[in-house]
Every structure is written in structure tokens, then in C-alpha cells.
Symmetry: C14
Subunit: 93 residues, 14 copies
């Protein structure tokens, strides 16, 4: 196997695993927060505005960990510095 293929294969595999493992925690955490918010609004409809605001801030915070994973996966597929370095070597070799 040439060096380029090794880097390509490991990048593809890692990108997929990163984004799929990284979806597990945030999805469960957001589901819990959303469930709590919905139950809270039903219990105290007058505070719906405050509750929604708190929910959205929390969802954004939790989603951020999923976005870290997505960003890393995108970097590995489209802006992989190791791949670029290997391409330069291959082009110049």
C-alpha cells in the first residue's frame, strides 16, 4: 500500500466513527433536557418563556460537543493537513 492510501483509509474510517460516536451523548443529553423542559412547561405554563430560553441555551451547549465531532470529521475529510502534506510529497516526488 502506498502511503497516500493508508492516510485516506484511516481518515475515512475515523471521520465516520467520530461523527457517529459523537452523536450518542449529545442526542441522549438533549433528549433528557427537552423532556424536562416539556414536563416543566406543562407544570408551569406561565414560565414558558424562561423555560424555553434556558432550554435553548442548554441545547446549544450540549450540541456544541456534537459540533466538535462534526468539525473534526469535516477537517479529516476536506482539510486534512496530513493528506495535504502527503499529496505535496507525492506531487513533488
Amino acid at each position: 500500500m502506498t502511503d497516500l492510501v493508508i492516510i485516506a483509509a484511516i481518515s475515512i474510517f475515523t471521520a465516520g466513527m467520530t461523527v457517529s460516536f459523537g452523536a450518542l451523548g449529545p442526542a441522549l443529553g438533549e433528549g433528557r433536557a427537552a423532556a424536562a423542559a416539556i414536563a416543566a412547561i406543562a407544570q408551569q405554563p406561565d414560565a414558558a418563556a424562561t423555560l424555553s430560553r434556558t432550554l435553548f441555551v442548554s441545547l446549544a451547549m450540549i450540541e456544541s460537543t456534537a459540533i466538535y465531532c462534526f468539525v473534526v470529521a469535516m477537517i479529516l475529510i476536506f482539510a486534512n493537513p496530513f493528506w495535504d502534506a502527503a499529496m505535496q510529497v507525492a506531487a513533488g516526488g
Copy 2:
């Protein structure tokens, strides 16, 4: 094995694993949020509109992590930059 086959095999395997692992968390999280919303509507039917709106925003947020996975799987199958690069090399070699 030629280089093309390695990239094809790892892309196929990763695409499938990404989308199937990535379905676990969102499905459980959405199930929890939906269950909470349904219980809340039964308890406070007057707030059904607010509750539905909160539920749909939450479902969209949770679904986003599943969509990240689906997008990455589609990229790996239909717009894989490593495959394109390898095809160019094979075509030009």
C-alpha cells in the same frame, strides 16, 4: 489489493457503521422527548400548542446529530474526495 479497492471497502464499511451507530442516540433521545411531550399534553391539554412547538424544536435539534451522520455517510459514498483523488491517479497512471 489495488489502492482503489482499499478505499472503496473502507468507505462502504464506514458509511454503514456511521449511519447505524448514529441512529441509536437520536432515536432514543427523540423517543424520550416525544414521550415527555405526550404525557405533558395529556396533563395540560391547554398548553398543547406551546408543548408541540417546544417538542418540534427539540426533535429538530436532536435529529441534527443523526443528520450529521447521514451527511457524512452520503459524502463517503457519493462525494468521497479520497476516492476522487485515487480515481484521478488511476485514470492518469
Copy 3:
């Protein structure tokens, strides 16, 4: 092993795993949402229409992650771009 066989084997294995792992989360999530809806209808029969509507929207949303997996599995079996590329090479070689 020829290249075609490798791609065929990995596609078969991945298609099956994708659809079976992808069934776990949605089935559990839908079971939870359905259980909540049934308990809610028993508790508040007057809101059955609203509850059913919310349930069906939620089930559709959760089912979507299972459908992503099924779609990917079908693509891998019947419309696999890597297989097509390899067939063209084999036909033209």
C-alpha cells in the same frame, strides 16, 4: 481474491449490519413514545386526537433514522457506486 469479491463481501456485510444495528434505537424509541401515548390516552381520553397526532409526528421523526439506515443498506446492495466502478473496470479490462 479479486477486487470485485472484496467489494461484494464488504457491501453484503455492511448492508446487513447497518439495517440491524439501525433497528435497535428506533424500535426502542418508538416503543417508549407509543407507551407514553397509550398511557396518556387512557388518562385523558378527550385529548386522543391531539395525542395521536403528536404520536404520529414523533414516530415519523424517529422512524426517519431507521429509514436512513435502510436507504444506505439498499444503496450498498443495489446502487453501490464503488461496485459499478469496479464492474466497469472489470468489463473494460
Copy 4:
């Protein structure tokens, strides 16, 4: 090993795993929904018709993920396009 045997072996293994892993989630989800329906009918016998209808729709929805798995397993055993292609090659070779 000839190519045909590899495809046959991986198809057999994948078909069995697909249908058995795919039975886990739906069976648990349906058990949960059914338990909720039975408890709900005992609590509100007058709404038995609505509850049964909701239960059957939910069971059908959950069962669908198990059926996806069964369909994929049947395709892999009886209508495997990769096997057909390999048979044609073997017949024509």
C-alpha cells in the same frame, strides 16, 4: 477459496446476524408498548377501542424495523445481486 464461496459465506453469516440482531430492538419496544396498552385498558376499559387502535398502529410502526432486517436477510439469501453477478462470471468463465 474461490470467489463464489467467499460471497456465499459472508451472505449466510450476514443474513443470520441481521435478522437476529434486528429482532432485539423491536421485540423490546413492542413489549413495552403492549405492556402500556394492557395497563391502560385495565385502567380505562371504556377507551379500549381507541387504545387498541393506537397500539396496533404503533406495533406496525415498530415491527417495520424488524421487517427491514428480514427483507435484507431474504435478499441476501435468495436475491443477492453480488451472488448473481459472480454466478454469471463463473458460468461464462
Copy 5:
């Protein structure tokens, strides 16, 4: 190893695993549904007929996933198309 032995070995192993993994989910799901039905009959003996009917429909639905597994296992042992094809090749070879 001849090709026939590989197919036989993988069929035996897959058939056993399919039916044993496939028994886990349905057995747990049916246990849950049955427990709910028994508790419901104790709580509302007058609705025993409706409850039994709902239970039996649910058990049949859940059992279906176990039966899918049993059917696949039986096909793999007694009506395996890959084995038949390999036998024909061996007989005609």
C-alpha cells in the same frame, strides 16, 4: 478446506447464533407484556377477556421476530441455496 466445508461450517454456526440471539429480545418483551397483562387482570378482573385478547395479539406480534430468526435458521440448515449450488458444482465437477 474444500468449499463445501466452509459453507457447511458457516451455516451451522450462523443458524445456532441466529436462533439464540433472536430468542433474547422476544423472550424479554413477552415477559414484560405477560407481566403487565397479569397485573392488569388482577386489578380489573372484569376486563379479563379484552386484556387476554390484547395480550395474545401482542404476543403473536412479538413472537413473529423470533419466528423470523427460526425460519432463517431452518433455511440455513435445510434449504440453503448456497449449499445446493455448491453441491451441484461438486456433483457435476
Copy 6:
């Protein structure tokens, strides 16, 4: 290793694993159903007949998945079609 030994080894291993994994789910499910029945009889002794009947039907249903496993294990040990075919080949070879 001769072909016969491979088939014998894989049949022995699969038969044992099938019957032992297949005992897990049914035993837990039956334990749950039995516990529910016993609690229900204590709570409503007058309905003991109905409850026992429902329990026995449920136990039979759950036990069926364990019996599928036992049947497959017995087939693999005492009526294994692949072993018979291999014996015929060995006897006639």
C-alpha cells in the same frame, strides 16, 4: 484437519452456545411473568384461576423461544444434514 473434524467441532461449539445463550432471555422473561403472577394472586386471590391460565399460556409462549434453541442444538448434534453429507462423502470416497 479433515473436513469431518471441522464440521464436528463447529457443530459441538454451536450447539452448546445456542442452548446456553438461548436460556438467558426466556429464563429472565419467565421469571418476570411468574413474579407478576404471584404478586397478582396475592393481591386478588379470587382471580387465581384466570391468572394461572394467563400465566401458563404466557410461559408456554416464552418457553417456545428456548425450545427453538434446544431443537436447533439437538438437530446440530444428532441430525446434522451437513455431517450426514460429509459422512456419505467420506464413506464413498
Copy 7:
């Protein structure tokens, strides 16, 4: 390794694993059923006879899955048809 040793080794390993994995589920299920029965007798001492009878039937049912495993293990150690066949071959060889 001679063929006899392979069959002996796999039989020993499988027999042990079968009986030990097969003890997990029944022991937990029986523990649950027994706990329910004891709590029920404490709550309704007058129904002790009915409860004991139901418990013993249930324990027998659950124990049956453990006995399947024990039977298979004993068959593998003391009445293994594959071992007998291999011994005959070795004796006649």
C-alpha cells in the same frame, strides 16, 4: 494435533461454557420469582398454598432452560456422537 484431540478440546470447552452461561439466566429468573413469592406470602399468608404451587410450577419451568444446558453439556462429555464416530475411525484406521 490429531482429529480426536480437536474434538475432545472443543467438547470440554463447550460443555463448561454451556453449563455456566446457562446458569446465569435461570438463577436470576428464579431469584426474582422466589422473591415475589416470599413477598406475596408475607402480604397474604392465607393464600400460601396457591402461591407455593404457582411458585413451584414457575421454578420448574424456569429450571427447564438450565436443564437443557446441563443435558447438552452431559451429552457433549459422555455421549458425544462426533467423538464416537471419531473413535470408531481411529479404532478401525
Copy 8:
């Protein structure tokens, strides 16, 4: 490695694993049953005799699965038929 050593090694390993895995389920099940019995006696001291009798029957039943494992382990160490057969071959060889 001579054949005798393989059988000795696999027997030692299997005996230990059998008895240690086989201790997990019964110990947990007995703990649960004992806890229920103790709580029941505290709640209903007058029924202590009936409760103790039910507990001891249940413990004996649960312990039986651990004893199956112990028996198999002892057979593998001290009365292993495969070892005896191999010793006879070695003595007569």
C-alpha cells in the same frame, strides 16, 4: 505440544471458568431471594416458618444451577473421559 497437554490445558481453563461464571447468577439470585425473605419476616413475623420454608426451597433450586457448574468442573478435573481416553492411548502407545 503433545495431545495430552492440550486436553489438560483446556480442561484446567474450562473448569475454572465454569465454576466462576456459574457463581455469578446463583449468588445474585440467592441474594435477591434472601433479601425478600428477610424483609418479609420483618413485615410479617408470624409467618416466619412458612417464609423460611419457601426461602430454603428456593435457595436449593437456585443453588442447583451453581452445583451443575461445580459438578461439571469436578468431572473435568477428576473424571475427564477425554483425558482417560488420551491416557490409555499414551500408555498403550
Copy 9:
């Protein structure tokens, strides 16, 4: 590796694993039974004698499974029949 070393290595490893895995279940089961007994004595101090007696019988029963494991480990280290047989062969060889 000489035969003696293989038997020694597998005996050491198995003895340690047997006693450590075998400690998990009994320790948890005894902890549960003891917790129940302590809570029961606090709730019904007058029945402390009966409760202690039931606890000690139960602890002895649960401990027995741990003792099976300890006995097997001691046999493997200090009275291993396979080691003795191998030593005799080595001494007489």
C-alpha cells in the same frame, strides 16, 4: 515451551481468574442480603434473632458459591492432577 510450563501457566492464570470472577457475584449478593437484614432489624427490632438466623443461613448459602471457586483455585495450584501426571512423566522420562 515444555509441556510442564504450559500446564503451570494455564493453572496460574485460571486459578487467579476463577477466584476473582467468583468473588463478584457472592459479594454483591451478600451485600444485598445484609442490607435487607439491617433495614429489617431497624424496622422490627423484636425479630432480630429470627432475622439474624435467616441472614446467616443465606450468607452461608451465597458464600458457598465463592467457596466452590476458592476450592477449585486451590486444587489448581496445590493439587492439580494434570500437573502431577505431567511431573510423573517428566520424572520418569
Copy 10:
């Protein structure tokens, strides 16, 4: 494989795993904290300011562990000292 490729491959794989495993704990922890805050605001709307402040401090604290992981992943991709050292050797070699 050249040394550079080994370092590139292990850096890519580690970066992805770090950020995806590292998202699991914080997402679940933040979901729990957010759910508690939302329930608390619904219960005590007057203390919303104090509760929000406590929530944000806690979220920041929990998020810090996810950020450690993201930082390490970024260092491994864009500022990897081992890669720099290997590049210098390769450039100077």
C-alpha cells in the same frame, strides 16, 4: 511504511476518537444538569436568576472536560510536536 505515515495515521485516528469519546460524558452530564435546572425553575420561578447562574457555572465546568478533548485533538492535527520533529528529520535527511 515510512515513519511519517505512521505518525500521521495514529494522529488522525486518535484525534477523532478523543473528540468523540470525550463528547459522551459532558453531553450526558450537561443534559442532567440542564434538566434539573429546568425542573427547578418551573418549581421556583422566583429563583430563576440564581438557578440560571448556578447552571451556567456548572455547564462551563462540565464543558471544560469536553474542551480538554477538543484541544488535544486540535493539537494532534495542527500542532503535533512529534509530526514536526519527524518533518524536520525528513526535510533534513
Copy 11:
């Protein structure tokens, strides 16, 4: 590798694993029993003496399984009969 090194390596590894796995169950079980005792003393301070005595007997019983593991680990490190036998052979060889 000489025989002595194999025995030394496997003894070191097994001793460590034995004592660390063996700490899991007893620590959890003792934590549970201690928590129950503390809650019981708070609820019934007059019975503190009886409760403490029961707790200490139970802790000793649970600790015994951890001590079995520690004893086996110490035997493997400081009084390993297989090591002694191998040393004698090495000294006399």
C-alpha cells in the same frame, strides 16, 4: 523465552488482575451494606448496637471474598509452587 520467564510473567499478570477484579464486588457490596446500616441507625438509634454487630459480621463475610483474592495473589507472588518447581529444575539442570 525460557520457561522461568513465562511462569514469572503469567504470575505477575494474574496476581494483579486477581486482586483488582476481586476488589470490585466486595467494595460495592460493602458499600451497600454500610449504607443500609447507616440509614438504619439514623432511623432507629436505639438499635445501634444490634445493627453495628450485624453490619460487622456482614462486612467480614463480604470481605472474605476479597481476602480469598488477596491470598491467591500473594501465593502467586511469594509462594508459587510452579515457580519453585521450575527454580529447582533450573538449579539442578
Copy 12:
């Protein structure tokens, strides 16, 4: 592979795993503590100062385990004594 590359690869892999596994426990523990604090403030707003102080001390204590992991990861990447020693050898060799 040169020695330097082995040390670099294992350092990169270990640093990432250390910080990502090390984030799991603290994040969950802090989430639990924060949830308790928020619920407590809602229940007893007057004690908010004491509760916040206790929370912050606890968070710092829990965070310390995550910081141990981060410190070890940073040492492995930027101040690795084994790498320094290997660099000296390489520079002086």
C-alpha cells in the same frame, strides 16, 4: 520502524485516550452534583450561598481527576521524558 516513531505513536495514542476516557467520569459526576445543587437551591433559596460554596468545592474536587488526566496527556505530548531520552540518543548516535 525506528525507535523514535514507536515512542511518538504510543504517546499520541495514549494522550488522546487518557484525556477522553478521563472526561467521562468527572463530567457525569459534576452533572450529578450540579443537578443536586440546582434542585436544592430551588427547594431552599435561603441557603443558596452555602449550597453554592459546597457545590464549587465539590466541583473542584471532582474536576481534579479530569485535570490529572489532562496533565498526564500534556506531559506525554510536550514533556515526555522517554522521548527526550530517545532524542538525545538519536542526536548523539
Copy 13:
């Protein structure tokens, strides 16, 4: 690899694993006991002395299993009899 290196490597690995696995159970058990003690003191402040004494005895008992692990790890690093024996051989060889 020389014999000394094998013993060193396995000792390092085992020491680390022993102390880290051995920290899991005691930390969880102590957390549970401490939580119970704190809740008990809040409920019955008058019995704080008795509760603290019981807590400290229990913590010491639970900590003992962690200390066994730490002791074994320290022995493996600083007073390893197998290492000493190997050093003597190496020094005298």
C-alpha cells in the same frame, strides 16, 4: 527481547492496571456509604457521632480492598521477587 525486559514490561503494565481497576469498586462503594451517612446525619443530627463512627469503620473496610491493590502494585514495581531473581541470574550469568 531479553528475559529482563519481558518481566519489566509485564510488571509495569500490571501495576498500572491493578491500581486503576482496583480504584473503581472502592470509590463507588465509598461514595454510596458517604452519601448514606450524609443523608442520615441530616435526618437525625443527634446521632451524628454514632453515624460518623459507623461511616469511618465502613470506609476503612472498603478502602482496604483498594489498599490491597495499591500494595500489590507497589510490590510489583519496587519489590518484585521475579525481577530480583532475574537480576541475580543476569548479574551472575
Copy 14:
């Protein structure tokens, strides 16, 4: 690979794993204890001093297991006796 590299690699890997696995238990245990303390202070603000003292003693006790792990990791990185011995050999060789 030279001996030094093996010891360095295994030390790096073990140090990281030790400190990250060792953080799991203490973080969860401390989170539980802290949550209990916070809830207790909210319930009984007058006993805050006693509760804080008990909490800090417990946290110190639990943290000790994490510190054992950190100490072992630091010893493996900065004061590794096996590394020192190997360095002496290398320096003197």
C-alpha cells in the same frame, strides 16, 4: 526494537490508562457524595457544619484512590525503576 523502547512504550501507555481509568470511579463516587451533601444541607441548613465536615472527610477518602493512580502514573513516567535499570545497563554496556 531495543529493550529501552519496549519499556518506554509500555510505561507511557500504562501511565495514561492508569490515570484515566482511575478517574472514573472516584469522579462518580464524589459526585454521589456531593449530591447527597447538597441535598442534605438544603434539607437541614442548621447541620451544615457537620455535613460539610463529613463530606470533606469522605471526599478525601474517595480521592485517595484517584491519587493512588496518579502516583503510580507519575512513578511510571518520572521514577520508573525498570527504566533506570535498563538505562544503567545501556550506559554500562
